[in-house]
């Protein structure tokens, strides 16, 4: 009320004040206007007087031009003046100024006569307006209105404040007090109503919330009274139990409906039901090993919680919440199966799978692992530290690895271990930390592989490589020796041939030749070992070869040693160089004899064996299948392990200095490898030695014929031979030998020289004797060039290199005759004669 009335009163007050001020302003304005207009008129009269005075002088002097100029200037400078006319008494317009004033509406007109001594000179007429007065009036109006408004505002405000203080303030205070009291009461009332509404709202919301929970919860919930009849059932319970609506369940005995039979099919009496017993005990019940039955007669595994509903400490019913745990049970079973599968995998894993705790104690180990450590059962070693099984040299490394893994690293270690029953094994283990779900390292998980076999193979490979490199070295040395020996033997023979039968020096020469012969054999052995000696392999029956050699062997081993042969009944046909195989046997038998200085038994057996794939692989053999196994056993002193390891190395000998070359078994090794075979040795000190030779059996059963030994004396000739040899000594020797036996010899120093000399003596030359490897042009190249001149020219090539390498290198067909250095003069002469005779027969 106060809010509304105050501005209205104030407004009325202001209007009254404004009216008063307006009337006052009107009064003031009309007074001012009168004053202003009067003043303007008076001013105009004064102006006219001034004009009159100003022109009077000029008029007296008859200076009309000045009057005209003055009038014009006066008119121009006074805006309110519209017209000035100076009229002579005769009516002539002496001066006339006019200007139009379209905005003027109030004018005044003045006239004055200029008289001199009673005679009128001119009459001046002046017309002007009240423009200035009007302008001042309009400004005055604006000021008056503004002043009125300002005064009304200031004065009104001041009066209003005073008035209120004096008269209205006490009344207003009373009203305000009353209004405040009413507002407070109102607010209290509103608060109370609001509280009630919000309490109701809260209650309703909570109810809705509970209903929502009950409707949306995945677990089934039902209530029953003390008689066992269902009083409430939520949608999840209906869904789980297979009912459409609550009416189908509510009011019915719930036990008979859903809980009547046990999982095993036996009847479940209501009296025994643990849910029902809940109300008697007041205790909650929980079970997860029972089933509920659906409306369609099927059942599901259930987990339930039952709780008495108490009112004033008296049970009035039971609420049961339950969940279908079929899936959970299935998952648990699947987990069990998965664990079993994993266990099976671990158990059948060929590598050792083990877990060790931080103290190094064994937690788990699979079957393969147990086999490795030679334990019968896991229980035997579980909880034990396996560190002692590791050989002392690796124990610290093993423990370091374990601690490293428990620091979070993974690692690998190769170590040696002695099984619980004493077996030595080389093992390689890879270990990683095994973490639990909290990412803590709880164990070391290790996968360990048995690498014993692998290590053996590696050692064998190493041995093979070593032998190979030694062979290469020996072969190279032997080749150089051959050239030297060729010279010694050649010149020795020539000297001997030319010597008288009774020459006292003859015995010396013979000694020289004998020694050279031994040296030549030595180099041959070296070449054999290094596989640089040619092997003339043919299918031969090993049994036949052994039988043939038996009488020689008997002679070699002497009478103290009994020799026994047990040859297999079947034919053992192998592709072999009969001579080389004979040498193998001779070498082995010689060794056996040396091992049995006080006599003993030597046994040679042959048999046909089929070697398994693994044996082939582990022993570096070329092919699997049938092998001839030749075993040579003696009852000698045997060998220690160190000796066995080095036995096939060239120049390794246990014999006294001078008794053995150290090449015997090396040669055997070389020959057997050349024949794609394998030789092993088994020996223990004092227990004798057994060598086993495996040679691949070939399908062809035909045994090779024995080559007849050529013992005839060399035959000379008269033919002309072109000899090409870059080694001067060898060339001279060869030339001498051939000349001595009647041949004409043309010697050339290299391939180019040979071709030139052939061209010069084309008609005479019947045979080419060329060294294969020569500077400028090889023997083969020279031969090929000469063949273009004479395609049927006969040729013999000489070389110190391995025949198989040579044939590959020079593309020489196998029907071309090659002699390998060192060649004895006799052998050379025989070859020359036989080649010259070819085609003649």
């Amino acid at each position: 009320m106060k809010q509304v009335s105050r501005p209205r009163v104030l407004g009325i007050f202001m209007i009254v004040l404004l009216c008063f001020l307006g009337v006052t302003a009107l009064f003031v304005a009309s007074q001012q206007r009168h004053l202003l207009y009067t003043d303007t008129y008076q001013h105009a009269v004064q102006n006219l007087d001034l004009i009159t005075d100003a022109t009077f002088e000029s008029l007296l002097k008859s200076d009309y031009v000045t009057v005209r100029t003055f009038v014009k200037r006066w008119g121009e400078t006074h805006h309110e003046i519209h017209e000035i006319r100076v009229v002579a008494p005769n009516g002539y317009l002496v001066a006339d100024y006019r200007k139009t004033a379209p905005d003027a509406d109030e004018f005044y007109t003045l006239s004055k006569e200029v008289v001199i001594a009673g005679n009128p000179l001119v009459t001046i007429h002046l017309v002007g307006d009240y423009r200035k007065a009007r302008e001042i009036m309009s400004q005055l109006w604006i000021r008056l209105i503004l002043s009125a408004l300002i005064i009304a505002a200031l004065l009104g405000g001041a009066l209003w404040v005073t008035f209120r203080k004096l008269a209205l303030a006490p009344l207003e205070d009373m009203v305000n007090e009353r209004t405040r009291a009413l507002t407070a009461a109102n607010q209290e009332l509103e608060q109370e109503i609001g509280d009630r509404i919000s309490a109701q709202e809260e209650l309703r919301e909570r109810e809705e919330h509970f209903t929502l929970i009950l409707n949306s919860i995945a677990e089934g919930i039902y209530d029953m009274d003390l008689e066992g009849n269902c009083t409430f059932c939520n949608p999840a319970a209906l869904r789980l139990l297979g009912y459409e609506s609550a009416e189908e369940v509510v009011g019915k005995n719930i036990h008979k409906l859903i809980h009547h039979t046990r999982p095993d099919g036996s009847a479940y009496d209501e009296a025994d039901c643990s849910i029902h017993r809940c109300d008697q005990t007041g205790q909650g019940r929980h079970a997860d090993d029972e089933v509920f039955w659906r409306s369609d007669g099927t059942s599901f595994s259930v987990e339930y919680w039952a709780q008495s509903i108490l009112r004033d400490n008296t049970p009035i019913g039971i609420v049961t919440a339950f969940a279908d745990i079929t899936e959970r049970k299935q998952t648990a079973e699947a987990l069990k199966r998965s664990e079993k599968l994993l266990q099976t995998i671990i158990d059948t894993e060929p590598d050792c799978v083990k877990m060790i705790d931080a103290q190094g104690k064994l937690i788990l180990m699979n079957r393969a692992g147990l086999d490795m450590i030679e334990a019968d059962t896991l229980e035997q070693v579980k909880g034990e530290c396996i560190c002692p099984l590791v050989t002392s040299g690796y124990r610290q490394a093993f423990m370091d690895l374990t601690s490293r893994v428990f620091e979070g690293n993974s690692g690998a270690l190769t170590f040696e271990m002695v099984g619980m029953k004493g077996r030595h094994l080389w093992l390689e283990t890879r270990a990683v930390p095994f973490r639990n779900e909290k990412n803590e390292i709880v164990a070391l998980l290790g996968i360990t592989q048995d690498i014993t076999m692998r290590r053996k193979l590696e050692a064998q490979l190493l041995q093979s490589q070593k032998m190979e490199s030694i062979g290469t070295l020996a072969g190279g040395v032997a080749h150089d020796f051959n050239n030297i020996l060729t010279a010694i033997i050649g010149y020795g023979h020539i000297t001997l041939m030319k010597m008288a039968e009774d020459d006292p020096h003859r015995a010396n020469i013979e000694q020289i030749l004998e020694a050279a012969d031994r040296a030549a054999h030595l180099t041959k052995d070296l070449l054999l070992f290094s596989r640089k000696q040619s092997a003339d392999r043919k299918p031969v029956d090993l049994n036949a070869v052994i039988r043939n050699l038996q009488k020689f062997l008997v002679r070699v081993i002497g009478e103290d040693i009994a020799i026994r042969t047990a040859l297999s009944g079947s034919t053992l046909t192998v592709s072999a160089d009969e001579h080389q195989f004979g040498q193998v046997l001779m070498n082995l038998v010689t060794n056996a004899r040396d091992a049995m200085p006080r006599g003993g038994t030597l046994e040679i057996t042959t048999e046909l064996v089929t070697l398994a794939e693994e044996f082939i692989r582990t022993h570096g053999l070329a092919q699997s299948g049938s092998y001839a196994l030749i075993s040579i056993s003696d009852t000698g002193q045997g060998m220690d392990k160190e000796t066995i390891e080095r036995i096939f190395e060239p120049f390794y000998t246990t014999k006294e200095t001078g008794k053995g070359t150290g090449l015997g078994l090396a040669v055997v090794y070389g020959i057997i490898r050349e024949h794609e075979g394998y030789i092993s040795v088994y020996s223990e000190p004092g227990m004798g030695t057994t060598f086993r030779i495996y040679l691949p059996v070939i399908a062809c059963g035909e045994a090779g014929r024995k080559l007849p030994l050529v013992d005839e004396l060399p035959v000379g000739g008269t033919e002309t031979i072109l000899l090409a040899e870059d080694n001067e000594k060898v060339r001279d020797l060869t030339e001498k030998v051939l000349r001595d036996f009647g041949y004409s010899v043309i010697a050339a120093a290299d391939g180019d020289d040979a071709v030139n000399k052939y061209r010069e003596n084309m008609d005479r030359i019947q045979l080419l004797l060329f060294d294969l490897i020569m500077p400028h042009k090889s023997g083969k190249e020279a031969y090929d060039e000469i063949r273009t001149l004479r395609p049927d020219i006969k040729a013999i090539f000489a070389s110190g290199y391995s025949p198989d390498i040579l044939r590959d290198k020079a593309f020489i067909s196998s029907d071309v005759t090659i002699v390998y250095k060192p060649t004895s003069p006799l052998e050379l002469l025989k070859k020359v004669r036989s080649v010259l005779d070819q085609g003649n027969t």
Binding site: S62, D63, Y64, V65, T69, P89
Partner: protein, 289 residues
């Protein structure tokens, strides 16, 4: 095209530079040329009429030309005679007096009004005046110009003299400051008659004037230079004045000097000999000029 543009740009730059430099030099080196004019009209009117000519001369000569108005006809003659003014515009009678007192001065140009080198004076009355002859002016109030004036004083007084009317015969003779006041004085009834030159008469005739008598033609007003002004400058000024008729601007300047002025022509001293005779005649009859 480009070459032409370049030429114009260069020419413009040169001209602008000259235009900028010249006034500075002129202002710095040359004093203004003083043009003196006798007070034959009100000062305002004189400035109005001669202002454009002075400006034009200043532009053409490259040197400012300043107007001074003699306070009297006499002081005007003295100014040019003593060389205080460089050039002067003067009526024929003052010229004759000038030559008589100071000797010959260089002549620049003379007025040619309506194609004539001469002009005439008129004695006027109001159109409704009963006076019809000069003789009837006896006892009347007559307005004259100042004594040195040719057409408002010297010539009409000689005319009245010839008609047998001397000043003493007149009711009242008043000497006004200029021709216009004479006309206005007659028109407003202050005088019965007045003497003035023909072109002023023509100006006011329609307002109610009537010509009572018209004089013999006399050589017109002229421009002279002070003795001692360099010949080339004299020739140059003379040339500028005489060639005014040839251009539109020049003709406009001529018109503003006097409506009837058609040209400025070469002045000849001999033309003023009749005036010299008239002056001698007036002096012989005892009139004070």
């Amino acid at each position: 095209m480009q070459r032409h543009n370049l030429f114009f740009i260069r020419a413009a730059i040169v001209l602008i530079t000259i235009a900028l430099l010249l006034p500075v030099q002129v202002a710095a080196l040359e004093k203004p040329l003083i043009l003196s004019i006798h007070p034959y009209l009100s000062a305002t009117e004189i400035y109005k009429r001669f202002g454009t000519l002075a400006d034009y001369l200043g532009r053409e000569l490259g040197r400012p030309v300043q107007i001074i108005i003699g306070s009297t006809y006499e002081s005007h003659v003295e100014a040019i005679g003593r060389g205080e003014a460089d050039i002067a515009f003067m009526g024929p009678a003052p010229y004759v007096r000038l030559t008589r007192r100071y000797g010959r001065v260089p002549l620049l140009a003379a007025f040619e009004t309506n194609g004539s080198r001469t002009y005439r004076g008129v004695i006027v009355v109001r159109r409704d005046s009963p006076v019809n002859s000069l003789a009837e002016l006896r006892g009347k109030k007559v307005g004259f110009g100042p004594p040195p004036s040719t057409m408002s004083n010297l010539v009409p007084r000689s005319m009245l003299l010839k008609a047998g009317v001397e000043l003493k015969h007149l009711g009242k003779a008043e000497f006004l400051s200029n021709h216009e006041n004479i006309a206005l004085g007659v028109l407003s009834g202050s005088f019965d008659a007045g003497a003035l030159k023909e072109d002023i008469y023509n100006e006011y005739a329609l307002q109610g004037l009537r010509a009572l008598a018209i004089s013999e033609p006399m050589p017109d007003h002229l421009f002279v230079a002070r003795a001692g002004l360099p010949d080339d400058l004299v020739r140059k000024i003379s040339g500028i004045l005489i060639s005014l008729r040839e251009t539109e601007d020049g003709r406009r300047i001529l018109g503003s000097l006097q409506k009837t002025l058609t040209a400025l022509v070469p002045a000849r001293d001999a033309d003023y000999d009749p005036l010299r005779k008239l002056l001698a005649y007036v002096e012989k009859t005892g009139l004070k000029p």
